[in-house]
Amino acid sequence: MSIINLVDVRKVFSDGECYIDVLKNINLTIGKGELLAIVGPSGSGKSTLMNLLGFMDKPTSGRYLLEEKDTSKFNDIQYAKLRTQKVSFIFQEYNLLDDYTVYDNVELPLLHRRMRKKEKKELILSTLKKLGIEHKIDTKAAKLSGGEKQRVAIARALVTGCDILLADEPTGALDQERGKDIMDLLQILNKEGKTIIVVTHDPNIAARCKRTIRIVDGVIYED
């Protein structure tokens, strides 16, 4: 059963004079529970594709079906809702708020949800426990190591309960060993039923995914 379906998706960037076709008629179907790697050289459009998949950008044309609902005509509020309920992001540079504690960072996607405080706290604690960083709950993000930061970022993505996790170079800023740990973690989450899409340069990371698509010059070159 497909969870994501892109039909003839195009993304054009322009600076007023020049137009750059970053994604050209992308057709892609991603099934529920897949662990998918998107690979390709720099500038090939894989991050742009990721941003479209994560509802952080809109396609210039084409249709984006999420759970068979066409999201192409959604407004900003509906996009914001999808970002908190359907998909969640893990970034290469973590994008944590350095002045906030681990707890405050993980709480971020829940801030505008109607939940009891106790319930929220339990959810955050269980997520942090799952990732093995519950002891850092009151530590400021700035004081964490790279691996810990990425775990917090994953916790933040998981706490929403979204089925789709989008990871943009999740191991890019980590050493090999910590990168391996993070990939182990993503594989476990995938086994638990999460759909995980990973953008990566690293062939070793791609090799650990069930499916790999290669993008070259905005076109899916290999699937």
């Binding site: 994560g54 809702k81 970002r83 908190t84 994008n95 002045d99 405050d104 971020l108 801030l111």
Partner: protein, 362 residues
């Protein structure tokens, strides 16, 4: 609850304190700028009037003993003098029992311009307020000492008022003597930097100082009114000074605008992260204004403290008529809140219009 939580988070992140401190310093800057400009304003009017002064300048002029000779023959009634002093915002004490004046002494040991009152009886201070007077000091002895130093001899007997030679002293000085001019000069020598202010007592006592002050105020003050109406230069200078004051306040407000703009620009990434995790624009706007409000309240408290400290412990304003004004500071804070809210609209709008991805890259 939301506000308290935000406050705690902000306190944890230390941003609140930093921002509040910056804002508070700006409030102080604006407060002092407006004050400075009003001083310039007064000084310039003082100069242009060719010795035709406003009431407060008249009083300032009078309390300088060097100018005493100018007032020897003037007269005024008590109510007119009170009215003038009231306009000049200067406190004047009319004692009601001059005959026993030595038992009704006022003494101010103060380097500020704000009067402080000491309660006394039989020439000895019984109770002092705010350490501006020293309990247990016999004023007569003190004064005797001073006049001896200055080489002027006066009788400070218990019926001094009757003998017309009674003097009390310090930054509030009451003098009832035919030789007031000399007393003034001698007091000026011994009191050093302390400002001197004349007190007038019972109008039944006919003494030269009272007469001279009155005449000076009445005639000169009304002459000022006359000049104000006739002299177009006066209006031009007044307008010029008002402009200067406005420019200074605008400079202060511009700094507030800059701070609030940078405050939001600095948070572009944070805003983008929150948006990436589902925060809607209205959530962000609400959150920013909530924090801004908290910062302004903190800034208010800090600026009151800063201004009070400057006022209380600094000697830099000794020569100026500065008052700690809670109301003025509140006006400054209200202005800052308004300006911050208005000027942050555009940066917030820009931050929200920015693509999430480009915000995250900052």
């Amino acid at each position: 609850m939301i506000i308290i939580k935000t406050l705690i988070v902000q306190l944890k992140s230390r941003k609140l304190l930093t921002s509040s401190l910056i804002f508070a310093l700006t409030v102080t800057l604006i407060f002092l700028s407006s004050l400075y400009s009003s001083i310039i304003y007064n000084q310039q009017i003082f100069e242009i009037q060719n010795n035709n002064y406003s009431p407060e300048q008249m009083i300032n002029y009078f309390i300088n003993p060097n100018n005493l000779n100018n007032y020897k023959t003037y007269k005024i009634d008590r109510d007119s003098f009170m009215e003038l002093c009231s306009k000049a915002d200067i406190r004047v004490d009319f004692g009601y029992s001059f005959g026993n004046v030595i038992n009704k002494v006022q003494i101010y040991y103060s380097k500020t311009k704000e009067p402080r009152v000491a309660l006394y009886d039989d020439g000895i201070i019984k109770k002092a307020k705010n350490n501006y007077a020293y309990p247990g000091i016999d004023l007569r002895d003190e004064f005797k000492k001073y006049v001896e130093i200055s080489g002027v001899k006066y009788d400070l007997g218990e019926a001094a008022g009757v003998k017309n030679k009674t003097t009390t002293f310090n930054d509030s000085i009451s003098i009832y003597t035919k030789d007031a001019e000399k007393v003034f000069q001698s007091l000026n020598k011994v009191s050093g930097d302390y400002p001197i202010m004349l007190n007038l007592y019972n109008e039944n006592i006919n003494n030269s100082i009272k007469e001279c002050v009155g005449k000076a105020f009445r005639e000169e003050y009304f002459q000022v009114q006359e000049v104000t109406r006739k002299d177009s230069k006066y209006d031009a200078i007044k307008a010029q000074n008002s402009k200067e004051m406005i420019i200074l306040i605008i400079v202060g407000l511009l700094s507030v605008i800059t701070i609030s703009t940078f405050w939001i620009i600095d948070r572009h990434k944070e805003i983008s992260i929150k948006r990436a995790f589902g925060a809607r624009n209205m959530h962000i706007v609400f959150e920013i204004y909530k924090e801004l409000l908290i910062i302004c309240i903190f800034c208010g408290v800090l600026s009151v403290i800063i201004n009070w400290v400057i006022y209380r412990f600094s000697n830099i304003f000794n020569s100026l008529q500065v008052k700690f004004s809670f109301a003025n500071i509140l006006v400054c804070i209200a202005g800052i809140i308004m300006i911050s809210i208005v000027t942050s609209v555009l940066p917030i709008y820009k931050a929200l219009r920015e693509e999430i991805i480009s915000g995250l890259r900052k």
